[in-house]
Symmetry: D2
Subunit: 338 residues, 4 copies
């Protein structure tokens, strides 16, 4: 039974982590941290968890938390993670970091997009990018796994087989991404109010969304060529789900059936990848760790459609998948029968 700590227990990713871990047969949550001083119970912060955990949220620092657990999920904001992770590792536990701090291998790229110097380049160099369908072999041995962004996972999973097989041009890939509002987190902001989001669709962060370099880094690695994407995030009036419609330029037109077969081969044995014949929907993957993908042609334009639950496969589900791999467990544990 692995002892698990969650740093930063008040947000949506922590909530989803706790829901998954509640039914995980090989993990026990031994600590959850908050900066609140009054030691609220977990069910005070997340009433939906009433009766499921007998645990207070403590104002522990990273070192204290690290000493209590075998594996820590770090659900802190970026830059805060960079301070906590070294302490956690020094305390002897292993870490799945859900922030962006250890995802970009080049500290200069981090600085450009996050406008902040990376203060832990040494450990950054040792972090494994936690997308099991791409880097599954490196995760079991990792002490620090950088859990991917939600848009990032969807985009990479939808493009990796095409990039690997050189079926598309590495440049000029248009990603039109549509996300539910929970992706914006649980901190109150005008833009996330119900009455601002409901009955509304809009785009944001065009040209400067921070998931862009992450997508390009991994796809460039997969394709062994510099990949460049125009990543366009949109907000949808719903809680959960990311739906990506991706418009790459093909190098040579191959039939849909052949492309689907390439996807199926690429993801053979991956329990959470579903290459489907129908067009996916976010509803079909809601509250699951699945990623549903298909392809179509629209006249000569190839279109790849991919859907995930942004809080599960886009955050906490893949985090548990990473934990399972790090612990030598079946990666489905806690999420699918195994």
């Amino acid at each position: 039974m692995a002892r698990v700590a969650i740093l930063g227990a008040t947000g949506y990713t922590a909530l989803e982590l706790l829901k998954i871990l509640a039914r995980h047969p090989q993990a026990e949550v031994v600590a959850a941290t908050t900066r609140q001083e009054d030691r609220p119970s977990i069910s005070k912060i997340h009433p939906s968890l009433t009766g499921m955990f007998d645990l207070k949220c403590e104002n522990l620092n990273a070192e204290q938390a690290g000493k209590l657990c075998d594996i820590a999920f770090c659900c802190l904001p970026h830059t805060a993670s960079m301070e906590a992770v070294p302490q956690l590792l020094d305390a002897g536990c292993r870490v799945v970091d859900l922030s962006a701090d250890y995802r970009l291998t080049d500290p200069g790229v981090y600085e450009t997009w996050y406008e902040h110097v990376h203060t832990d380049p040494t450990r950054l160099a040792t972090a494994v990018y936690g997308l099991p369908e791409i880097y599954g072999s490196r995760i079991p041995g990792a002490r620090l796994v950088a859990n991917p962004g939600c848009y990032t996972s969807t985009s990479i999973l939808a493009l990796a087989p095409l990039v690997a097989e050189k079926i598309i041009e590495p440049q000029g890939i248009v990603i039109d991404a549509k996300s539910g509002i929970s992706g914006a987190g649980r901190t109150p902001k005008l833009a996330n109010l119900f009455s601002e989001c409901n009955e509304s669709v809009t785009a944001y962060s065009i040209g400067n969304h921070r998931h862009t370099p992450e997508i390009e880094q991994v796809l460039s690695d997969v394709g062994q060529a510099k990949v460049q994407v125009a990543f366009n995030p949109h907000l949808m009036p719903m809680d959960r789900g990311i739906f990506c419609s991706i418009y790459p330029r093909i190098t040579e037109k191959r039939p849909v059936a052949e492309l689907l077969e390439i996807f199926r081969k690429f993801y053979a044995g991956q329990p959470f990848m579903r290459i489907v014949d129908h067009i996916p929907s976010t509803k079909d993957v809601a509250h699951t760790n699945f990623c549903d993908i298909t392809v179509r042609y629209n006249r000569d334009q190839l279109v790849v459609f991919a859907a995930i639950d942004n809080l599960i496969k886009g955050a906490s589900g893949v985090a548990v998948q990473n934990m399972n791999l790090m612990l030598g467990l079946d990666q489905r544990m806690g999420m699918l029968p195994c």
Copy 2:
């Protein structure tokens, strides 16, 4: 052409006021105030108004605003209104106050429910409660109109004919009120985030919601007997609308048709009251100043159903209706053909 000022232009009630006034043939918005110092255009604060007003939001105090206009809509929070209204009146304009500050005729009741001493009891004594279907005759001559709360209007309009005709007991009236989230305002709070409200129904402020004494005050006046209600507000995952299901105790059972007739007589000539045979829905009144009402028996229990748009008939629509009456105009102006 009446010159209109709006104090506190950034919220949802101000937005709806501006939308109605944009199509009002006898009113011109000459000033809109904010505490922001950079003089944002109205369309910067409310992009939906782009191209409809050529006006900056100015950081004016109440006295300055009052001098510019014939009539002022005060969209400030409670206690802030109490400071602004005296200055507005002294500056010579007339006022429709959308806060709660001038609604409760007894300053002691105000203090009990708002936990704040009323600092302007003199003007409070002169304020007219701005529900035209009840106090229509007093509004034309008023210099200060206290615009009713959203839950309040719905509840009063649904009960007034029954209370007036002694068809129900004045005590033990259960009001189960269901509101869209815009009623909670535009200030970011955890409880109003999309991901907290969406796919959720809950109740709040049971026993201590501040619209309670307002409902009781007006109905006691209408029925000339002390009315007491158990007011139970609920939040619904939608933008707009209030739906009240009201369970009074009847003194004598009269047929539905007779009750509907009593309602129709009570509201004869009122352009925004629709006594309907079917059960109303918030969708039918959305973006209008209508109040739809019907009655049913559920076994021996009388049920009254009433629906309004909380931002229109519950706030800004009735505010314009009040303005129209104060200016000697047709009360429908800006809202219905007349």
Copy 3:
């Protein structure tokens, strides 16, 4: 490993059953029926189940299905169930019937409310009402369990302790029930279209909703006195969830803390009952088999609030709970760690 059949596999309750059974360690779905002749795969009908079942939906009659399984879930419409259940039982399997056909013990009451003669009064007399928190001791031995309605469960669970302890009057209980749209089923009807329901709240079936006699039958049994309720269902613009606000008349005022204690004792040991101090919300119980309940006073009016997921605790979750009890398994199996 119990062999399970699902009759009527195309609706939402069947979908939720399948999702729960997919992670149930002691049940295997061996048959799913439909009237479609082309033997669609389950994932064709429910794309969200892609990869989870290797099963075709067959056009089997009840006798055929009954011979294949140990336990059958009957998800057919009312009157259709009454035809299928005798065949299922004759074929030797046990049955959880999700229709209304075996819920009302008096065939005359059934006829009054469903406007249809009951054609199977003999088996009706042997059916056990499948609300485990009330009739848990009778379910293990039952061959036919009548799974309760969604509104029904919520209302009964919220009132049973108060009725049993004579804390409230058995007459004049007002239930204001608010349901998500999935309760209306998956058959296309104007009233269930997105654009009719979204941004809308309304009431329906006032005085004639068929869950009324069911609530009264069970509560009368619990309280050993004739209970009568005014049941008022409303539709909310959301997928899932029932929220009941219940206004009973108290016989004697007891403090909230004492009432909560009475609830906690009444439901002691029940894994899915959560008596909470805060006001519940449908979001807190969504996708779970929990029922959250609290009580409040609003002045002298007692109010009971209860929330469930209408498709889980209100249908498929309690169905699996019943199956677990019938099979001698832990009732949490498939839904909570056990």
Copy 4:
């Protein structure tokens, strides 16, 4: 005062037409048709219109309706319009047809996309495409105006200035269009149920959506070069609104400010076009006849964003705009102060 008839009064476009016409000072609705035989009042079909029209829906044929009015709005499904429009014109009235039957100038293209022979090619040749911002000069004299599709208007308005000025390649234009569910109409279908659409985003009709040839026809005319688009419609969980994110290939990179200036010049004097600096949202244009547009670069990829209300600017609002032009009225009448 123009006498107006509406053929096919039960759908959402008819409802929105009626709402606009209710406040139109120069139009009177004299007839509304339905195939229902029982002469329902308009408010029976659309309860939101209670009290606004004193009119029954009659089972009139097109000839009968045509004789009663000066102008007819034909809200019938495609192929039904093709039968009604000749009768309407012969009866002497003018027609705004909201179906697709008279939009495609080439009957062969119609046949290809609608799989139906065009039975009225003569009148088709005389129909004017009713997008006032493009064909405004031809509409006043037209006897038959073909009202554009909702996706179509958005796409054309977002691209016309760029196509006219040869700023983009006429081929390879990717349109990612996002629509609310009301675009699917009011006929009950599984795909349009609340519980299927809510919390879901998906794509549909990839490569074969019937608005494709309409977009290409108009843009080819505007640009005097064969335009080809990959049009990708998506469904969003909301009632109203279309948001198009368009990815064209530029011929030469020009600054955003210059592009916005080109848009502003192209649409100078058009009261419903708002070229904005911020990214539009569907909420900003909901319940209005506005079309909001802006442009951005995402690295080197030009992106055009456009938002409308699909039922207003995408259907009934532009229909009234067309009527106004046909009657020699200010095109804003009924929708904006004028």
